[in-house]
Amino acid sequence: MPTLTPEEWTAIKISLRIAALATILALPPGIAIAWVLARKRFWGKSLLDGLVHLPLVMPPVVTGYLLLIWLGRRSPVGSFLADTFGIVLSFRWTGAAVACAVMGFPLLVRAARLSFEAIDPRLEQAAATLGANWFWRFFTVTLPLALPGIIAGMVLCFAKALGEFGATITFVSNIPGETQTISAAIYTYTQIPNADAQAARLVVIAIVIALIALVASEWLARRAGARAYGYE
C-alpha cells in the first residue's frame, strides 16, 4: 500500500478523535445506567432499558434525524448549550462524537451491566461492615470488579464509533477536515462508480486501527480481569 494521502491522514485523525470523545462521553452515563439497571428494581425499568436500546433498534438515519431535531441549534437543548457553554454541535466534530456516543451507548451499557450483575453482592456487604459508605463501596469494590465489562463496553463503543456514519452524517453532515470520518469517506467512495480501490484502502486502514485498539483493550482487560477474578 502506498503512503497515505493528507486527506486520509485527516480522516484518520478525525475518526480517532471522534471515537475517543464518543467513548468518553458515553462512559459516565453508561456506567451509571448500567449500574441502575443491574441493581435496582423500580417502576419503568423496562422503559429505561428500552430507551437505552433505541439507537440499536432504529435505523441510524432516524437517530441522526432525531438528534438534529433535539440537539440542533434551533432546539431548546441546542440553543441552551450554545448560549450557556458556547458548545455548538451542528456541523462540528463534537456533534459527530455525540452521535457516535449515542449509537455506541447500548453496547456500552449492556457490557457494563453484565459485569455489575456478576459481582458477588457479599463483597459489597463486606466493604460495608468495614466502614465503606455507598460512594466508597462503589469506587473501591464495585467499579474495579466490573472493569472487565466496562472495558469491553468501551471497546464496543469505540469500534462502533469508528464504523458509524448513518447517524453522524445525518446529524452533522460530511465536512472534510471537520466531520468526515474514515467511515463517511468509505461510504462516499462506495457511491462513486469505479472508486472501489480507494474505498478498499480506507477499509484496510479502518481495520488496522480497529485491530490496534482491540489488542490494546485486550491487554487492559486481561489485566483488569486477572484482578477482578483474583488470579494473577
Binding site: V61, Y65, L68, I69, G72, R73, R74, S90, F91, G166, I169, T170, S173, N174, I175, Y187, T188, Y189, T190, Q191, I192, P193, N194
Partner: protein, 243 residues
Amino acid sequence: PGAFAQEPTLTVFAAASMKNALDDINTAFTNETKIKVTASYAASSALMKQIEQGAPADVFASADLEWMDYGNQRKLVKSDTRVNLLGNRLVLIAPANSKTSSVTINKDTKFTELLGADGRLVTGDVRAVPVGKYAKAALEKLGLWAQVEPRMAMAENVRAALALVAREEAPLGIVYETDAKVEPKVKIVGAFPEGSHEPIVYPAAVTTQGKPDAAKYIQFLRSDAAKAIFEKYGFTWLNKPAA
C-alpha cells in the same frame, strides 16, 4: 416467495427518491397490463452493484447518469432500451423565515456574505450524491467553487440536505426543485441558470436479463399516464431517448 412467484411479475430496481411516483405508476401499470410489479428502492449505487451480482431485476431506474453508464459499460443493461425519463432543476433554498429572499445566481454572487460568519452551504456529497455533483459542477462553471468550498456541508442525500435547511442548521442549501417545493419549512430563493450544469436526468433501462415484459414497462413509463403521475410529484417530464 412473493417476489419470485409464478404469475407474471416484474422486478424494478429504482432510486429511493422515486418511490412516491413509481408506487403510483406501478399500480396503474398493473391495472392496465395485469403484470405485477415489485419495486426495490435503494441507493442507485447499491442497486447497480446488486444487478452486477445477479440480482433478479428487470428494470433499473437511476437517480444518476453515472451508475447507468456503469451498467452500460458492463453490459448489465440493454442500451437500446435506455431512456432519459425525468429532469429536474437545481435551486438555492433558505429556511422559510430567512431574511434572504431572492438571490441571483451568477459569477458575482457573494455566497460568503449570504452565509454569514459561520453558516454552511448544504447539498449532497459533491463526489457521490447526484445533487452534490451537479451543484459542484455549476459552482465551478460560475467560478464560485473556490469561494464556497470551505463552507460546504455535504449531506448523504437530498432529503438530509433539505432537513438541515428546514431545521435552520444551515442558512442556504442547494437541492432539486422537486424536493424544495414540497417542504414548507424552506423557500426557494434562487435558481441556477440553464447551462450552468449538465441537464439533470433520471435514466431508466431494461436490464440485460430483463424479461420481455420489461420493455412494456419502459413503454408505460413514457406514456401520458406516467407523465401525469410524475408531474404530480413535481418531477420534470423529459422522456428523451438517450443520446
